[in-house]
């Protein structure tokens, strides 16, 4: 079930909210929790009942293992460590089988000529996310950072539908204590209003911006190997993909945060104006923040972090980013994307050390640093967006002008527009295609202005600026619950309903 679908908005969400708050009136909070768990399982099972079984099995095994680790942690630390390692390995193994079996066997087949026939493996929805949550639970239990949770609390934490499919990655210690607060079971108009505001902003970002802007990039990348893009198409495709991906994923995060907020539950923010970052280190503090924290805490630090010397630190950082790339997708393009970011981070850390050692070194001004960061991030997105290495290289060649300024098709359209005006273009493309293209370009322009000038969703709804020292901007946009803001939210909601028919899945669903 998608957040941006009619069945979710018009049926699932109202029923789940109503049942939750009705049952929340009981003295015992468990029926409301059980209701929420049932709703979350239905939400997942809507996609596949078979893989709902896998999710349930995974939760049962991890919960049992976690309980055992917790029980022996003090008396037999060696056994606790062994059990934790076994659990992590089993989780990684399960993820590897479902996510990487085809990738691995394809590569082995390419090297050896052996066919392992792994093509039928289906990637279970959300497996990347619920595996990470449970690995963190096992590690935390072994390190004494987890309480003894009931099975109901544990399963609700893993499956709570706002974060289940595509994050944010919310940890047990962030979520379960909130389920135990009696306040969330009482209907709180302020929380529901803020949730609606988050959700409505997310819907508009997804349907009004991400989908049409993303559609500008798709043909450039999909056809790049066969029809290499010129300078204009390559840059347009890359900028459109960068903008589309940001609005797509941050929209999902906004919706997830908003949905949780309707139930009185607070999720951590997941985006914080990432394209305003002034360095790559800064970028990773702002982009998919919950994943960055996970990689830092459970991969980078677990490998030794910066505790074993500079060389080891660099190796750990690069390994973490390569794994982060591989987590996003089973393909060499994702590995290269992760590797590029690893290399960027090494350069960034090296530059910082050099600047510390030589205070006289000239500093980049903030706009230059921001522009440079954005440029290298976009170059890396080319690998993320391209279906294969050949397409990525063709787009990069286009961006450097190696494929000429324009593709022949675009040149024909431009020439027709210059000679015969819009009518001549309509004769080639059809009126609807021209209108859609122009509209998408205008939305792309507007989206760029929003990225660089407008406040974040959390700044609008919660008043949280991107940086603590930053003064609040655009006070007129600050959400305050009253009739007029309700009109705006309702209008956004109705607009989204009107655009929902041609529904597109969120990009991050495939990860």
């Amino acid at each position: 079930m998608l957040f941006n679908s009619h069945v979710f908005i018009l049926l699932f969400l109202p029923l789940t909210l109503a049942g939750f708050f009705l049952l929340g009136r009981l003295k015992d909070m468990r029926p409301a929790r059980l209701w929420l768990l049932t709703a979350s399982l239905i939400f997942y099972g809507w996609w596949s009942l078979t893989y709902l079984g896998l999710l349930l099995g995974s939760m049962l095994a991890n919960y049992a293992l976690g309980r055992r680790i917790g029980a022996v942690r003090a008396s037999a630390p060696g056994q606790a460590r062994a059990l934790m390692l076994l659990g992590v390995a089993a989780n990684v193994g399960l993820l590897a089988w479902y996510k990487y079996a085809i990738f691995i066997t394809d590569n082995v087949a390419a090297l050896t000529g052996l066919d392992f026939a792994a093509g039928g493996v289906v990637l279970p929805l959300a497996i990347s996310f619920y595996t990470f949550l449970q690995i963190a639970y096992l590690v935390d239990t072994r390190n004494g950072r987890a309480e003894h949770y009931s099975f109901l609390d544990y399963t609700l934490f893993v499956t709570f539908f706002p974060h289940l499919i595509a994050g944010p990655i919310v940890h047990h210690h962030e979520l379960i204590p909130q389920f135990q607060r009696p306040a969330i079971y009482r209907f709180q108009p302020g929380e529901v209003a803020a949730g609606i505001a988050f959700f409505a902003i997310g819907l508009v970002k997804k349907l009004v911006i991400a989908d049409p802007v993303g559609a500008l990039a798709t043909p450039v990348f999909q056809d790049a190997a066969a029809v290499p893009p010129g300078l204009l198409e390559a840059w347009l495709g890359t900028v459109a993909f960068s903008v589309g991906l940001y609005f797509d994923f941050s929209a999902y995060s906004d919706m997830a945060i908003g949905l949780a907020r309707m139930f009185g539950v607070h999720f951590p923010y997941n985006f914080n104006a990432p394209y305003k970052a002034t360095s790559i280190i800064d970028f990773w503090r702002r982009w998919h923040m919950t994943l960055s924290h996970f990689l830092r805490d459970y991969v980078y630090i677990a490998m030794g972090g910066s505790r074993c010397g500079t060389l080891r630190r660099h190796a750990n950082l690069m390994a973490t980013m390569l794994l982060g790339g591989l987590w996003h997708g089973a393909g060499w393009t994702f590995v290269i994307w992760g590797g590029l970011h690893g290399a960027y981070l090494l350069v960034n850390h090296g530059w910082r050390s050099m600047a510390r050692e030589r205070p006289g070194l000239p500093r980049l001004s903030a706009p230059v640093a921001q522009g440079l960061t954005l440029l290298v991030v976009m170059v890396a997105w080319v690998f993320f967006a391209a279906p294969d290495l050949g397409a990525a290289l063709a787009v990069l060649a286009g961006m450097t002008g190696l494929n000429g300024i324009l593709q022949p098709g675009t040149a024909t359209l431009l020439s027709a527009a210059l000679q015969g005006g819009p009518g001549a273009v309509v004769a080639i493309t059809g009126g609807m295609a021209l209108l859609t293209g122009i509209l998408s370009l205008l939305i792309l322009g507007g989206a760029l202005l929003v990225i660089f000038l407008a406040p974040n969703t959390q700044e609008i709804v919660d008043g949280r600026t991107a940086a603590p020292e930053e003064a609040p901007r655009w006070p007129i946009l600050r959400f305050r619950p009253h009739a007029i803001s309700a009109c705006t939210a309702a209008a956004a909601f109705l607009l989204a309903l009107a655009l929902m028919a041609d529904v597109k899945e969120f990009v991050y669903f495939q990860f």
Partner: protein, 343 residues
């Protein structure tokens, strides 16, 4: 988290003067709403959303009463949606022969001729319009799952069916919703909710006055065929996408994997179109050769429409025959099918 939680209770504070003014500023609505700001927000939001949904329902009802409502938008294309609405009313499990494809199939077959020539056959023309051959394969797979007695699948093809077959456009409707709709497991109004597109609805309502074409423009046979009665000036230039032959292969595989046989017939060539776009006939020859090479199953029957050397007067346009010339064309197909069955 503590900072986030600090905003938790903002909705329960007494309304500030500015907020009270904002609520009051909403006029009549403001007087109806609760004075507590967050409750005021929620009440107004709910009222407006329900009002918007109510207005949309009212607009649909009004259009339906004025006979301007297009069929349930499963594909948001009138002639496809109309075919789904037709199929919903049919006892699909009883048919033994379906015709499927683009308008080359929809507008060129006389299903009663097939039933007469092929004894015991119950035939239905399930073809909508606009489909390329890979989309035909997609729809054939969908329908065959619901039509267990079908033993023959018939497709009439023209070069236009092989114009473009991008994978991204293949699944042109949601099979789950369409399956539930055809099976009567969801109400007929549900696709209006899930497929709500205001611009499409408005455009179709404006055009609905001319749709469906009247009896002077088309002849309906009650089996799903719709034959043109008037000539058209449409002369599409031939464009071929090589990937469409994979679509034809998929169609054959889909049909044979369900124990049915595939019959593919190309249309006769309109002389005027041929003189303009294919004077030496090499394009159609090459297309026919490719199709023959693609179809590999021994039970598949391919019929070359060029064996009917008809004049322009029999054609509405290069893709559609004029009424009643669809009957001899169908007879040509039926005889060949009967001959194959007899041999």
């Amino acid at each position: 988290m503590s900072d986030q939680h600090s905003s938790l209770h903002k909705g329960t504070k007494p309304a500030s003067p500015a907020v009270r003014r904002a609520c009051a500023g909403a006029g009549f609505l403001g007087r109806l709403l609760p004075k507590q700001p967050a409750a005021c927000f929620l009440a107004a939001f709910l009222l407006l959303v329900l009002g918007g949904i109510g207005a949309t329902i009212a607009a649909h009802v009004a259009l339906a009463r004025a006979a301007l409502l297009p069929p349930p938008p499963l594909a948001a294309t009138w002639c496809i949606d109309e075919k789904f609405a037709f199929l919903r009313e049919m006892p699909l499990e009883r048919f033994t022969l379906i015709a499927i494809g683009s308008s080359a199939t929809w507008r060129n077959l006389d299903m009663s001729v097939l039933e007469q020539r092929l004894h015991g056959t119950r035939a239905i023309n399930a073809a909508p319009c606009y489909l390329h051959i890979d989309q035909t394969a997609y729809m054939a797979g969908f329908l065959l799952e619901r039509m267990p007695r079908v033993d023959t699948v018939l497709a009439v093809v023209a070069p236009r069916d092989f114009e473009a077959c991008p994978a991204s456009q293949r699944a042109f409707f949601d099979p789950h919703l369409a399956g539930a709709y055809l099976g009567g497991r969801v109400p007929a109004w549900l696709p209006y909710v899930t497929g709500f597109r205001p611009i499409y609805l408005a455009r179709e309502a404006i055009e609905q006055e001319n749709l469906p074409p009247g009896p002077d423009a088309v002849a309906l046979d009650g089996h799903g065929s719709s034959i043109l009665r008037k000539p058209h000036s449409w002369r599409p230039a031939p464009v071929f996408d090589p990937s469409c032959y994979e679509g034809l292969a998929t169609l054959e595989e889909t049909v044979t994997s369900r124990g049915a046989r595939l019959v593919v017939s190309s249309l006769p060539v309109m002389p005027e179109w041929s003189e303009r776009f294919d004077p030496d006939g090499s394009l159609v020859e090459s297309w026919t050769r490719e199709m023959r090479a693609t179809l590999r199953q021994p039970e598949t029957l391919f019929l070359d429409g060029r064996s009917l050397a008809w004049g322009d007067e029999r054609f509405a346009d290069p893709v559609h025959l004029l009424y009643p010339h669809h009957s001899p064309f169908t007879d040509f197909i039926a005889r060949a099918m009967a001959g194959q069955a007899g041999s």
